[in-house]
Symmetry: C2
Subunit: 342 residues, 2 copies
Amino acid sequence: MSPKEKKGEITINDIAKELNISPSTVSRALNDNAKISEATKNKVKAVARDLGYELNLVASSLSKNKTNVIGVIIPHLGSQFFAKALSGIQEVARDNGYNVIISQTNESVQQEVEMTRVMNSARVDGLVCCLTMETDNVDHFNVFVKKSIPVAMFDRVSYAVPGPKIVVDNYEAGYVATEHLINLGCKRIAHLAGVVSSKVFEERSEGFKDALKKHSLPLLSQFLLSSDLTEQDARDAVRLWMNLPQRPDGIVAASASSGLIIASAVKALGIKLPEELSIISLGNERCNEFVTPSLSAVDMPGYEMGKAAVTQLIKCINDGVSDSSITLKPIQLLIRNSSFKH
Amino acid sequence: MSPKEKKGEITINDIAKELNISPSTVSRALNDNAKISEATKNKVKAVARDLGYELNLVASSLSKNKTNVIGVIIPHLGSQFFAKALSGIQEVARDNGYNVIISQTNESVQQEVEMTRVMNSARVDGLVCCLTMETDNVDHFNVFVKKSIPVAMFDRVSYAVPGPKIVVDNYEAGYVATEHLINLGCKRIAHLAGVVSSKVFEERSEGFKDALKKHSLPLLSQFLLSSDLTEQDARDAVRLWMNLPQRPDGIVAASASSGLIIASAVKALGIKLPEELSIISLGNERCNEFVTPSLSAVDMPGYEMGKAAVTQLIKCINDGVSDSSITLKPIQLLIRNSSFKH
């Protein structure tokens, strides 16, 4: 059976009946046929819109092979990095006449697979994606590749999938943050890192380690901890570090949220920030400004990454899929009170 | 032309060719026809999935009249209230075999209209929606009503659209917060309210006013300001209030974000919290715990509202659209240091 017969589906005949004109006229009007007067076209489109026909995916994909919808798949919507990325994505998309539908994977690769299917079903014209931390195999993107539907990846990307890649220089982020603490006079700098399997966090750690090397500071045992950066991980790190005979005098947190938790956990122990300990986080959250002392951070260009990703995606939608790779610098070092030398 | 002929579209014939079996066998396999062996079904489905056919909306809507996708339209993804609501929505949806696609309106009714079209095109089985602050006319939901696709609304709702409504008792939130300050001894309590046109904020203000009445405290002129609750609005309110000969000794902020800005602006003026001024916000953000002093708040049950909305929605999907209205209580009064009596 054809989709027009789909139960409850509005058909061209319904519109024809409503306006008491022939179905073929309706069809021509919907397809902007030159033989049809503007007046009729407008009447037909108004009724179609009202009945929910023009909006019908099958109908519109018959009249033109596009939905003007861009799909976005990201790990989670809570974080400000992704909130900023989404603003950038939606701004550029809207300026180019695209709507955006979003889905979150909650860092579950199974959810990611599921959502690629949903986005494919929704017939998005293109996909913007940031992979989960556990994504290794990327075969679930093949359905887009096979149909030449472009996929632009940002932040956590896989070069096994053709299309634009927008990444940030995470190595520099880790390096700059660590060097900032070194310049303040910190000698025993600890780093709560993310999972090593994630390129993003591996690069941040590399930057941390190289900054120590460059300034010939030792990487003390137990001072580099890799974790999932959960609240518990951050609290455990603080407990471990603050019970060492030689405490760290500087901490680089691999994420904004872990930085906030480390700062409050340390304060709860009565340790003075920044007099006894300087803290800086890789990634900036709104909270960082409001806490006391305000938390220094390396800001990540979420907004710019989102804009770049969808800009490249739309290029691919118009001109065909092509590989391109853009590496953005961390926006800036936001020096606040948690890392001031007093 | 039928969608099967749509350019680049995978057809049953492609799968048949791939497996060297008849198209009718493929069709039966995809529709779980009992005449087809499990082995064949699995082979066909594997290839279909691989080619992106099973995922094809038309195909799946031909085999069964459902997409198992629930659409969500909310004002913005940044706030923690909506982040929590989304977690609740996704949790229940997943448990019931539904995937969720999300869109944000950025408080623009035009975007809301646009997104109802997109969700309709994606043929969602149901829609969960929180209206923008400016939404007045709700005709754009008629396409769902006409097709008996259920729409569940939460937080900002319109009773002009049939279907479940999940709201929070905003009057109680405003009342409880204000009474808390009164019980601390505050006599000159100010309220930065949201736009009056929004029922949510109007109710919060009503709660504020009635708490003052109940305790026979005057509502001082200039102490009730209505605004869009932007950062600038909050700063302007602080400037106005703190320059009055008789400053407020208590402030009820209509939103978490405005409360955070008020608190930091007041601190910047050297005013001691909570000794000279107590602050409480309606709505709780993660920052509230991290700031000094930590910011008291009435927590809103975003997670519970999301769960309730999608639970009612799925009932409607299964049993047909029916009206139902659930009013949840604000979760709890989180008394923190910004409103402690010292």
